[in-house]
């Protein structure tokens, strides 16, 4: 059931962000596609704009004890706790396969301190075939780092700036929705020299097992993702687009082509497919195909025309 994207010369889905040329604007979100190879039996990676790795830390992490996930109405909670193989193993074990594919490769990174973020970024400078760094300043599931930084403009600025100073790759901070003013955080990224911004990570949520009278997740709270949060993600892309000049990569509850269209029209330059990969691993490829069809039917020659189309025209 590998979906093949119809060849169509006229329709240009390619986008360029910070000098990186993506074949199309559809990426798979961090933590929902492993390190890429896991889905290679099912999904033609050559047809996806970019694969974003699970968040990488300086040393491998084991994450939280079970239970780590729970399904909610039109969504799911996760508290994985950044269980990952560590940046070194990623470079030595996972990049080799990814380099053989046309898809662009984005490494998502995190640390408990800004120094750790910087160390991971430095290590990745030697990863051949990598194209961009996504900075996880937004995962709600760890005690130190991530959302701790992404909830404050000053720490966001510091963290992004420090990484920009050492990395040879363009940098894409990933924002948390659990803030009073996401525009303020996005502006801090812009000032710090970020090349683009992805939004959103998960919303903090929890569930209680009323039979056992205790929280379902071992970590108590987790991150909510899936269709349930799409309206929240879309509103944040919309608002940030109005004040921030950087290209935006929209993520949150995207299940199909029309969901993706909403994000482009709100102002996204590209989108990421997250939870939907679990539901249907073909989602990203189907969206690529769907976007081509949409553009064809609506005589749109470049996907770029769609960006911010629903926004009021500047006066």
């Amino acid at each position: 059931m590998m979906v093949r994207v119809a060849q169509n010369k006229k329709i240009d889905l390619a986008i360029e962000i910070a000098g990186v040329k993506f074949e199309n604007p559809v990426m798979v979100a961090s933590g929902t596609f492993g390190y890429g190879k896991e889905y290679a039996d099912l999904v033609d990676l050559n047809q996806i704009g970019a694969v974003i790795s699970k968040t990488l830390t300086i040393v491998p992490r084991d994450g939280h004890p079970p239970l780590r996930t729970f399904e909610t109405p039109s969504g799911m909670l996760n508290a994985i706790g950044l269980h990952n193989i560590g940046v070194d193993n990623f470079i030595s074990e996972k990049m080799k396969f990814l380099r053989t594919k046309k898809t662009k490769v984005i490494a998502n990174i995190a640390g408990s301190t800004i120094e750790e973020y910087v160390q991971v970024a430095e290590k990745l400078n030697s990863a051949e075939g990598l194209h961009m760094l996504e900075i996880n300043i937004s995962s709600p599931n760890v005690k130190k780092g991530c959302m701790e930084f992404g909830s404050r403009a000053d720490l966001t600025y510091e963290c992004v700036k420090a990484i920009k100073e050492v990395s040879r790759y363009p940098v894409m901070p990933k924002l948390s929705p659990n803030v009073t003013d996401i525009v303020e955080i996005a502006l801090a990224c812009q000032e710090a020299g970020a090349d683009c911004i992805s939004l959103i990570n998960t919303l903090v949520g929890m569930a209680i097992d009323w039979k056992k009278k205790k929280p379902v997740l071992s970590n108590i709270t987790g991150g909510l993702s899936g269709p349930a949060i799409k309206p929240v993600a879309l509103a944040m892309v919309w608002k940030v687009f109005q004040k921030v000049k950087l290209p935006l990569i929209g993520v949150g509850g995207i299940m199909n082509t029309t969901d993706a269209l909403e994000f482009f029209m709100a102002g996204a330059t590209a989108i990421q497919v997250g939870t939907a990969n679990y539901v249907d691993p073909q989602t990203s490829v189907k969206i690529v195909e769907g976007l081509k069809k949409y553009c064809q039917e609506n005589k749109i020659s470049s996907i770029k025309e769609l960006i911010g189309m629903a926004q009021p025209s500047p006066t």
Partner: protein, 271 residues
């Protein structure tokens, strides 16, 4: 190799109150399926429930290219599945997961099937029969009460000459009265523990007991575990179980979907 297929429903049989056997056509998956493998089913194309549901494979018909899953209705997902009719299709991912280590002819195999945990060990038993396996084989099938031995008619069809079948019910309404682990202990007393290979699946409590027993008595015992599985493909890291290779190793986490669902009972920590 993992496949994703839109599989036609060939039959949906009711096995008892709220228990169904769904027969699906999925030749590619069937070709590569062995005992312990499971399929991940999208029960509703409209994303409600959102996530796939995992079901061990109960049996395959390799000629027809069909496979069986047996399930109990416990929530929205299985509720949807129970209403599938011949001609409907469901989207499958499979075969997924690691299989049981099949026994050698010298081994004494003991299948321990608690409730619907029968599914993977029934497949194993059927597969051994197809392979003309020579080793002695026990099949222990237990449930709370007789009505919940949903697969009784399938089990009864196993050749008695090749498989020694023992039943248990908590209330004694069929076979041995008591828990399955007690029945297992009776069997173990008769056999050489060094030759025994136990294959088990069932409710959490049973598996925890078996894990304890295997550790105490240093038994070869494989358990098929069930936990919520968002992806089934090893990518979400959501389905982990506590794992400790041996006494001196640290506790780590293993993904049940791809490093399991079959684990050595001595290596997992079920609490």
């Amino acid at each position: 190799m993992v496949y994703q297929t839109d599989s036609p429903v060939l039959e949906n049989l009711r096995l008892g109150e709220d228990c169904y056997k769904l027969i699906l056509k999925a030749p590619k998956i069937v070709d590569h399926s062995w005992a312990g493998n499971f399929v991940h089913i999208q029960v509703n194309p409209f994303f409600y429930p959102l996530l796939r549901r995992a079901f061990s494979i109960n049996e395959v018909d390799r000629k027809k290219g069909s496979l069986e899953v047996v399930f109990k209705v416990i929530g929205t997902g299985t509720g949807h599945l129970s209403r599938k009719k011949k001609g409907d299709t469901v989207n499958l991912l499979g075969p997924l997961g690691k299989t049981f280590s099949y026994p050698d002819n010298e081994d004494i195999s003991i299948m321990v099937a608690g409730g619907l945990g029968i599914v993977p060990v029934y497949f194993l038993t059927r597969d051994l029969l197809r392979k003309k396996h020579k080793g002695k084989t026990y099949f222990l099938y237990g449930a709370k009460e007789k009505d919940q031995l949903y697969c009784l008619s399938d089990v009864k069809k196993l050749p008695k000459s090749k498989v020694e079948i023992l039943y248990s019910t908590d209330d004694g309404s069929y076979g041995f009265k008591g828990y399955l682990d007690a029945l297992l202990k009776q069997v173990l007393e008769k056999e050489d523990k060094n030759k025994v290979k136990i294959y088990a699946c069932g409710p959490e409590g049973l598996l925890a007991k078996l894990s304890g027993l295997a550790k105490e008595e240093n038994l070869f015992c494989q358990l098929s575990l069930e936990v919520g599985m968002p992806c089934g493909m090893g990518t979400c890291m959501g389905c982990v179980v506590k794992y400790k290779k041996d006494y001196s190793s640290p506790v780590t986490f293993k993904r049940v979907c791809c490093e399991g669902p079959v684990f050595n009972a001595q290596e997992v920590i079920l609490d």
